[in-house]
């Protein structure tokens, strides 16, 4: 299979046309890229795409170069779209990443693409990382970029390089230079300790951002990644909070007379939307973070919760049991036109609007099983991605290709995080030190 053929297959799988082959050049000089190959002749009878064999040579020089190429390879492998080739199979040893490689040596081991690179230290102490992506069968360079950063950010540079490769080959934005905020859980079920923690999307660099014995739940990143909104039981007063990551400053969101929960940001970061519990009913409110004004959006004798904005901010999907059991509803951002969209067997909850705007992910309970699925925004085209004893709480990668959620297996001591492709393929455990739940994906960091 040539790279062109692989690309065709990839396009079919995505069922989208990509003619966006502008290479985003971060800052510095770009090494010229070859023109994109023609991408035509979509064969819609082809099924799942085979991961593309790709050779990722050790970046020169030394240990850090190798560590960076390891992280690049791991990112691409976890995406399920690439199959990095074992370095022991390499014939050519790259000694000059600026020169064209011996393409024959890479074709013979079936590498459709080759990544070469170099890491050097600048006079001011910064790290300079460069890479080139080669189409081995066409014998051409596809892209080349370089980045400068502080040495401790080497993992981020690796993720940014992996994103650049992913974008150049698939035509889609990557999602590797992102973080996950989640609830880190430890201790027995009957006395569980919960802290908010942030880690890179691959599980590295995990750190706690709260440390108390209060229950903390359902964190979400603000669009600018500087704040987190979440729910805490501090002082036995369950409320929605806002946490400034830089300063550690915390505040209660709004002055509501009862429990507030299920907070999320609006896409412009100006509002927090959440539920307010009053007696047996929960209704959805927003609070404008500048003016502090609150607005009530739903008013029913039911549980209305888990709101999620469409990416353009014009609509909101939420769950309500106003019809007897939990179902998904869509309304305008002002609360107008509340319309039920889920009509399948079972109950539906925790809807999350895709960053692309075209799909809504959800948790579905049916037949004693908990599933993660997606549907179109009008409720049609439901697809279940994974089913089991307990799967809950999907969150979208910023490119809308991958979902993360938490799963508790029967008999397991606690939940863990998993990611899965939008196609339902490539389910992966996301490594965390202890138990973990309520993952929320950040936007791209760059």
């Amino acid at each position: 299979m040539t790279l062109n053929e692989w690309l065709k297959g990839f396009l079919i799988m995505l069922r989208r046309n990509f003619f966006r082959f502008l290479v985003a050049l971060t800052g510095m000089v770009a090494l010229m890229s070859a023109p994109a190959h023609a991408l035509v002749e979509l064969n819609i009878n082809k099924g799942n795409v085979e991961p593309m064999p790709i050779a990722i040579s050790d970046f020169l020089q030394g240990e850090l170069g190798q560590k960076i190429s390891d992280v690049v390879a791991a990112d691409l492998k976890r995406s399920g779209l690439f199959a990095p080739i074992d370095r022991n199979a390499f014939i050519e040893k790259i000694s000059n990443p600026d020169a064209a490689p011996r393409f024959e040596d890479w074709k013979v081991i079936n590498a459709q693409a080759l990544v070469t690179g170099r890491v050097t230290q600048e006079g001011d102490g910064r790290l300079k990382a460069e890479f080139r992506l080669w189409d081995t069968f066409a014998g051409q360079q596809m892209t080349g970029q370089q980045f400068f950063t502080q040495p401790e950010n080497w993992r981020r540079v690796a993720h940014i390089i992996a994103d650049a490769i992913y974008e150049r080959i698939t035509g889609e934005k990557g999602y590797f230079d992102t973080r996950i905020v989640y609830v880190a859980e430890s201790g027995p079920k009957t006395a569980r300790k919960r802290q908010l923690a942030i880690m890179d999307q691959d599980g590295a660099n995990a750190r706690a951002v709260t440390n108390s014995n209060d229950i903390v739940l359902t964190p979400r990143f603000s669009p600018n990644k500087q704040e987190i909104t979440y729910m805490s039981f501090e002082g036995n007063e369950p409320r929605v909070y806002l946490l400034q990551l830089e300063t550690g400053q915390r505040e209660v969101v709004g002055n509501f007379p009862g429990m507030t929960f299920a907070p999320r940001f609006s896409p412009d970061g100006q509002r927090v939307i959440m539920s307010l519990q009053q007696d047996g009913n929960a209704n959805i409110y927003t609070m404008d973070l500048r003016s502090r004004t609150t607005t009530r959006l739903t008013n029913t004798a039911a549980i209305d919760t888990s709101p999620s904005y469409s990416p353009d901010g014009s609509r909101i999907v939420f769950e309500s049991d106003r019809g007897g059991r939990q179902q998904l509803y869509v309304m305008g951002a002002d609360g107008s036109g509340q319309t039920r969209i889920s009509f399948g067997d079972g109950s539906y909850s925790t809807p999350v609007w895709s960053p692309r705007g075209d799909l809504i992910a959800f948790t579905k309970q049916s037949g004693g099983k908990f599933s993660i699925g997606v549907m179109k925004t009008d409720g049609s085209g439901e697809r279940i991605l994974t089913t089991g004893f307990h799967n809950e709480g999907p969150t979208w990668a910023p490119n809308g290709r991958v979902l993360m959620f938490f799963r508790q297996n029967a008999g397991a001591g606690g939940p863990q995080l998993y990611s899965i492709d939008l196609t339902g393929y490539n389910e992966q455990l996301v490594p965390t030190q202890g138990f973990a739940s309520d993952p929320a994906w950040s936007p791209l960091l760059e």
Binding site: L217, F261, E319, L385, S437
Partner: protein, 174 residues
Amino acid sequence: MSRIQAPAAGRMNSIARNPVMVALFMTLAIAGCASKKNLPNSAGELGLNAATPGSQQDFTVNVGDRIFFDTDSTSIRADAQSTLDRQAQWLQKYPNYAITVEGHADERGTREYNLALGARRAAATRDYLASRGIPASRIKTISFGKEKPVAVCDDISCWSQNRRAVTVLGGAGM
């Protein structure tokens, strides 16, 4: 679209076919159930009757501090009504206590919905106690959703213990 679901089924099958996984799964399932603890709800179960009248122990042991709910339900069952009737009588006898009603849900629901469901159960319990003469001003409510189970296993024997409203003397804290 059927191809989308194929790999999930494939994974399930491959787990089921793997004897080590099955054995591990069974062991864990059994261990999980063995460790469940059903909290005593009455003096008879505990074999204790010697609590000082008017004490927390008296309330928990002789009156019963908790009621249970059916799945997804917030209605006060007949057995729960008699517990709450005893609670109301006791609270009228000892009027200095303020109370907090804690609402809880089992783990077979999503986290946010369960927070609201627990709140509904706490509110229903408060309303029942109020209807039996306990002033609402003495009663605070809080929901812990599914976050504080007392019984830990993966079947209904535990879930039914966790769908509860607990009356706590003095304030929330359990």
